[in-house]
């Protein structure tokens, strides 16, 4: 394919603004898939993605389009995740593109997360084509969406393509805009090979399948390639394109997007963001990598059955292959035994990894409440980073504790501004400014401790604004805060996995709420179980789980035996999902209880 007839683009959209439907229509229109072949929303291949209506892993597909100028174009669509947690993934896909469709819901307008991704795209010098979608909705307001485009992003509203992906309106116009407005890939076909790895997956038979964008030169079968980060050399066994199923081709040349298989057994040898070059005629410089993804949220993951520890390690290793943002380190908890301290980009990322571990690897896990990384300045002059609250040194050793702050941007309709400000205040937010995005919506900017966002900010924001607010945040830096560690004692024993770090002014209330919640969650034992929250030696909250006095079925005759046995089996199965801490059996959800208070 002529380089001038290639276009690489992605789609930026807020959740529910219609990205997947639009992608499906583009596939359908260009005949990449017949209608009947299409599972709803082809690009979201993971069950989890389809259930939640979001894109997690990025996907790529090649479309062949005969444009009105009479030429056939090869359009590579690289899908991007829409959630704030996945900024890293977005930057990966944007680096492989020259253009992006910005999809805006005609009824909802621009949202905070979309904005963040648009700025990323602009940083990458991408050509942005605004697409105002869902124009057939009765409450669509195209003029308002155009005004927002101009006022918020500075794009000309009149350049927007108007579509209804659902009704199939404007699909050809979108494709024409991609052809005429997105620049063809630059790059020199004769130069030494430089290809960017933007994703990968592991295939049990073929080894690592790397997803690449060729920036310069070309890749052929049987060519010897070299990874520029570690110098390792492999022979290419297969190259191919996504149509959308993986399809073998002879060559991937400059500007093209596709995959390659080169007998790579170790996933670490195809690090996403690395540059592939030719072993015989290597390039001098690798391509610029990605914005590094630093995990911001940590939690402990423990198998309920300690025999599953190795399986959990293997599963994390596999997930880590194409999700470099996930980190994991072995850790030991006195209460939970052997497990891993895992780092995530955000809460959604954490939930998704947890669900994938449980669903795809059939693991039963205990997850501890998420926390951020604290920096602790000690009297001995050292500064240590703490990603597990239980590890906070005693107050006597500490000069100060710093916690990560973020700049949080909330876009909200005017009538909820008061509620959002109140919430941000409650969550220790420091007001920065407020701007109006046209008459009906405002952008509020606050500096906030990340720990508060991790705690329950997002849920409260949704409920107090009836879901109308959208949130985006970026790490700002570390600040000293008055923080204390709260420990939980169950039946007199400290349970390390339940410790949390809190601002001193909130510690008492959270301690009370958590003990109250645990009293509801932990089933009664044969003896009375005291629950205490403490700061150092000081007890700040106390509850008691009364002893179970009666658990008997009085009637058991011929017709009751099967039912009774089933009941006992169920009781037994429930017990298997509990963790024995001291003499007390604690259910899985107790370890997340700190998040569920209020």
């Amino acid at each position: 394919m002529q380089q001038s007839q290639i276009r690489n683009f992605s789609i930026i959209a807020h959740i529910d603004h219609g990205k997947s439907t639009l992608a499906d229509r583009l596939l359908e229109y260009t005949g990449a898939l017949a209608k009947r072949e299409m599972a709803e929303q082809v690009l979201d291949q993971m069950d989890l993605e389809r259930e939640r209506g979001i894109t997690i892993k990025l996907q790529a597909v090649r479309l062949r389009y005969l444009a009105k100028d009479g030429l056939e174009y090869s359009l590579n669509l690289i899908d991007t995740p829409g959630h704030v947690d996945f900024t890293y993934e977005v930057s990966r896909s944007l680096a492989a593109c020259e253009g992006a469709l910005l999809v805006i819901d005609a009824a909802q307008g621009i949202e905070a997360q979309t904005l963040a991704n648009v700025f990323l795209a602009l940083e990458n010098n991408l050509e942005i084509i605004p697409v105002i979608n869902k124009i057939d909705l009765p409450n669509a307001d195209v003029d308002k969406a155009k005004r927002e485009l101009e006022e918020i992003i500075g794009l000309a509203g009149e350049d927007a393509v108007l579509t209804s992906a659902k009704a199939g309106i404007g699909i050809e116009e979108v494709l024409e805009a991609v052809v005429s407005r997105v620049p063809p890939p630059s790059g020199d076909a004769a130069a030494p090979l430089r290809a960017l790895i933007f994703d990968s997956h592991y295939d049990a038979y073929r080894g690592v399948v790397a997803y690449v964008r060729v920036m310069e030169g070309q890749i052929n079968e049987r060519m010897k390639i070299k990874m520029m980060s570690n110098g390792k050399v492999f022979e290419v066994a297969e190259v191919g394109a996504f149509r959308p199923r993986m399809t073998r081709v002879e060559t991937l040349s400059v500007g093209e997007v596709g995959y390659l298989v080169a007998g790579v057994k170790n996933v670490k040898d195809t690090r996403v963001g690395d540059t592939i070059t030719a072993a015989e005629r290597p390039a001098d410089q690798p391509l610029p990598g990605y914005r590094r993804a630093n995990p911001m949220v940590f939690c402990g993951l423990y198998p309920v059955d300690s025999a599953d520890y190795e399986d959990l390690r293997d599963a994390l290793e596999k997930l880590n292959l194409n999700d470099a943002a996930l980190t994991y380190e072995p850790e030991t908890s006195a209460a939970l035994g052997f497990g891993f301290r895992c780092g995530f980009l955000g809460l959604l990322h954490m939930e998704i990894i947890q669900e994938r571990l449980e669903r795809e690897y059939q693991l039963t896990l205990i997850t501890t409440a998420p926390n951020v990384v604290y920096r602790v300045n000690l009297h001995n002059g050292a500064t240590i980073s703490i990603d597990n609250p239980a590890l906070l040194p005693s107050s006597a050793e500490i000069i100060s504790v710093e916690e990560p702050y973020v700049t949080a941007r909330v876009i909200v309709p005017n009538q909820y501004v008061g509620q959002v400000m109140e919430l941000c205040q409650e969550k220790r937010g420091v007001f920065v400014n407020m701007e109006y995005l046209e008459a009906s919506r405002a952008v509020l900017t606050y500096e906030m401790p990340l720990s508060e966002i991790v705690f329950d900010f997002f849920d409260l924001l949704k409920s107090r604004t009836r879901g109308y607010a959208s949130l985006d945040y970026q790490l700002l830096g570390y600040r000293v805060s008055k923080l204390v560690k709260v420990d939980l004692l169950i039946n007199g024993e400290a349970v390390d996995a339940l410790s949390f770090i809190s601002h001193v002014e909130r510690a008492y209330q959270r301690g009370r709420e958590l003990t109250g919640k645990l009293r509801e969650i932990i089933p009664r034992q044969m003896f009375e179980v005291p629950l205490q929250a403490t700061i150092g030696q000081k007890v700040i909250a106390r509850e008691t789980i009364k002893a179970m006095r009666k658990n008997v079925l009085d009637k058991c005759y011929g017709g009751d035996i099967t039912r009774k046995r089933k009941l006992l089996e169920k009781q037994k199965a429930g017990k298997k999902r509990m963790k024995q801490v001291g003499n007390v059996e604690i259910p899985q959800e107790a370890f997340m209880a700190v998040l569920r208070i209020n």
């Binding site: 044969m526 009666k550 011929g558 017709g559 035996i561 009781q571």
Partner: protein, 383 residues
């Protein structure tokens, strides 16, 4: 020696549904009692053939429901004669019928006795008329007393059912009830704590806050005090909820607790027979039509494996205050239960929930109200 079996016969009719009841019974069924009895007789005939072929005799017969005595005297007479015609009966058969006050009169009592019934289980439940009305019982306490006197005249043994832990009930109330019933001198008494079953009217009332149950501590005290009163009156506490004067333990129910075979006939009836558990269909037309076509009604079948049988033997046997005999277990399974369940037994002894002597293992006094915790230890999950 010929093998013996317990036979249960289910009569799904009742006068009106009590608010706590989730049994397979109803005051208005699509099939008339006469039609139902015809189907039942067919089932009796088919099953009896099996029993005779296997050389098994009915040692106990128990007619329950529902309320069997909502049937007319003529219907009862026909039912009993069908049983006598078809079932191979051992001599000295224990023959029980469940009776509710207000559904028994002199002619019915006479018919039952003539038909061979020698034991009555009478649902008295409570002494307080207001609470009886709240529970949806269709009789007063005075009617219960009349029914008891009548039964006492006609039958060798009369048992009464009493419920505790009722809405609005105090410990003093339940103690008074138990004392009053002791004064009647029944031969046997069952003491049940009220259990709230999902989907019953009681469940809905509690949900709406229209009724409240005594706290767990109170319900427990009611049970313990009831037990003390009964023991003081010469009753032997032989099963979690059952008390008997010497020689009056219910032989039929002992079959269940000793995990011995039983045959259930009628709509939705359960059987444990030839190492399988069966449950007849609960679909009345299906039940009737199968039998009219000369076939046994459809039933779910679960084959009980050896391990499960051993677990069931523990789960059921520990309900008896006499516990499970090591020798008996050894004879039945050729295994020593102390070895088989060594870890479970040790854990339960440490918790003080069971006690052992040279011959038996049984619930401790502390273990009685926590019996489910003990049973669960002996269940290792679905085979």
């Amino acid at each position: 020696m010929r093998m013996k079996i317990a036979v249960y016969i289910h009569i799904p009719y009742c006068k009106s549904k009590c608010i706590y009841c989730d049994f397979l019974s109803s005051p208005n069924l699509a099939v008339s009692p006469a039609e139902y009895l015809r189907a039942l007789e067919q089932e009796l005939a088919l099953r009896s053939h099996e029993l005779r072929e296997a050389g098994v005799m009915a040692d106990t017969v128990y007619i329950g429901g529902g309320t069997p005595t909502v049937l007319s005297a003529a219907e009862l007479s026909a039912l009993l004669s069908a049983c006598r015609t078809h079932l191979p009966l051992a001599s000295g058969t224990e023959w029980t019928v469940e009776v509710n006050p207000g559904t028994i009169d002199l002619p019915k009592a006479a018919v039952l006795r003539a038909g061979g019934v020698n034991r009555i289980s009478l649902g008295v439940q409570d002494t307080c008329d207001d609470r009886l009305a709240l529970l949806g019982r269709t009789h007063t306490f005075a009617q219960a007393r009349q029914a008891f006197s009548l039964c006492k005249k006609f039958f060798n043994a009369v048992s009464v059912d009493v419920m505790l832990g009722l809405p609005g009930q105090k410990v003093a109330d339940s103690a008074k009830t138990v004392r009053e019933l002791c004064a009647w001198q029944p031969d046997h008494l069952s003491l049940y704590g009220l259990k709230v079953e999902a989907g019953t009217r009681l469940d809905a009332l509690l949900e709406q806050g229209a009724a409240t149950l005594p706290a767990e501590e109170e319900a427990l005290a009611m049970m313990q005090q009831g037990r003390e009163i009964l023991v003081a009156h010469g009753f032997n506490h032989y099963e979690l909820a059952n008390f008997a004067k010497p020689g009056h333990q219910c032989r039929h129910n002992l079959s269940y607790w000793e995990n011995r075979p039983y045959l259930g006939l009628g709509l939705g009836a359960h059987s444990y027979w030839q190492s399988s558990r069966y449950c007849n269909t609960a679909d009345l037309p299906l039940y009737q039509n199968s039998l009219l076509a000369g076939m046994l009604p459809p039933a779910t079948i679960h084959v009980v494996q050896k391990r499960e049988e051993m677990e069931d033997t523990m789960m059921l046997g520990l309900r008896l205050t006499g516990g499970v005999s090591f020798k008996e277990f050894q004879r039945r399974f050729r295994l020593d239960l102390r070895t088989l369940f060594a870890a479970e037994i040790q854990g339960l002894r440490e918790k003080g929930l069971i006690e052992c002597d040279a011959e038996t293992i049984r619930l401790s006094k502390r273990g009685l109200p926590l019996a489910n915790l003990v049973f669960a230890e002996f269940i290792t999950g679905s085979p």
